[in-house]
């Protein structure tokens, strides 16, 4: 079949004729969806940054009440994680894909974003897990120092419970992040790279 026949048939179709569209309901939905999307993004940021800020304030207050310097360190670690979220989001916001860009520009922007996400998750230990670990280590050290009168066996047991609990929790968080890279982000990156390759 030659292309002109296909094109003629194609251009003779009227897809709009098969559509029942209530434009007022549609407009309402589009506006609603846009608000919902913006609210989702906003609350995600509030959740991540808010949790870090809340914990930072909590540890500060706790540290002040108990006069424990190690809790100040933990508060600072939480603050650092929250600050990292805010700065990273602000920097990345400028590089978001814009849907009215050309396909190539949009794919490149998406690829940049995915690569950044992969970088974040692969390095989650350094910016997300390590700062609290330092704070938690300090809290552990101060706890053990305070409880030194209980004897070496109690101190070892306490230390072991602390380390195992945090070790398992942190290990799980790290594993979840690496799994997200393998299962979701890497395939998406490969897909985008293939798309880009098909354009160039």
């Amino acid at each position: 079949m030659n292309f002109e026949v296909m094109q003629k048939a194609w251009q003779s179709q009227d897809p709009g004729a098969k559509v029942t569209l209530d434009i007022n309901v549609l407009l309402r939905e589009v506006r609603h969806n846009q608000r919902h999307f913006q609210a989702t993004i906003f609350w995600r940021d509030v959740r991540e940054v808010g949790a870090a800020a809340l914990m930072a304030v909590g540890f500060l207050v706790w540290g002040r009440l108990w006069h424990w310097w190690s809790l100040y360190l933990l508060a600072f670690a939480c603050f650092e994680v929250g600050a990292f979220f805010v700065i990273d989001r602000r920097l990345q916001r400028r590089k978001r894909p814009v849907h009215n860009d050309s396909l190539q520009d949009c794919i490149e922007a998406s690829l940049f974003q995915i690569n950044h996400q992969i970088w974040l998750l692969k390095n989650v230990f350094w910016w997300y897990l390590l700062p609290p670990i330092i704070g938690i280590g300090a809290v552990l050290a101060q706890t053990l120092w305070t409880a030194r009168g209980a004897g070496p066996a109690a101190m070892i047991a306490m230390g072991a419970v602390f380390i195992i609990t945090y070790g398992v929790t942190y290990g799980f968080v790290y594993w979840l992040n690496q799994r997200a890279v393998r299962k979701q982000l890497d395939p998406r990156r490969q897909e985008l790279e293939a798309l880009l390759a098909s354009l160039t």
């Binding site: 048939a9 559509v19 989702t40 050309s102």
Partner: protein, 179 residues
């Protein structure tokens, strides 16, 4: 050409006009990229949402069709079938997919309709970028317009279209024999 920030009323007016004038274009992209009615409805809403959001940055420098194609294809590329729906439950404002054989009232129109349906099926088999090109080519866009939508050179468009035309012809060869 618009130089000032667009008011909400202007945004709505332009959106309504685009829907009226370019609905066919949007639906072709939807049908070329998604098969199941639920997926088509989902993708169509995503495209409308992106078009609505893009309107304030429309300055009239690009042709309206070029702009809409860009938004629609970029949305279709980012859209993934089966991904958890981002949106809340929504009101149904669109009925898209009625089997073509039910719609046909004249036997004379069957061959062309059949070709169109097979073209959609063939386009959905193509890699995404090729599918985008096929849709625009069938709609009669110039090489220059296609290059603007995709952001690649006119020469490369020519090379790709030769291959796509052949692929579509091969896919529809069976259809032609049956017809």
């Amino acid at each position: 050409m618009q130089t000032q920030a667009m008011t909400a009323q202007e945004q709505e007016t332009l959106f309504r006009r685009w829907l009226k004038e370019h609905l066919g274009l949007m639906l072709k992209v939807v049908r070329g990229c998604a098969t199941a009615p639920q997926d088509q409805d989902d993708l169509f809403q995503d495209i409308l949402l992106q078009i609505w959001s893009s309107i304030p940055s429309f300055r009239g420098e690009a042709k309206e069709t070029t702009w809409i194609y860009r938004v629609a294809f970029n949305t279709a590329l980012a859209w993934q079938r089966g991904e958890r729906r981002r949106r809340e439950k929504h009101e149904i404002f669109l009925r898209l997919d009625t089997p073509p054989q039910v719609q046909l009232s004249h036997v004379d129109s069957l061959p062309e309709q059949e070709i169109v349906e097979r073209l959609y099926a063939a386009i959905r088999q193509l890699p995404k970028v090729d599918a985008s090109l096929a849709l625009m080519h069938l709609d009669g866009l110039s090489y220059q317009e296609m290059a603007e939508v995709l952001g690649i050179s006119v020469n490369y468009i020519g090379v790709k279209l030769n291959r796509i035309r052949k692929q579509l012809a091969d896919e529809l060869k069976g259809a032609a024999d049956e017809l």
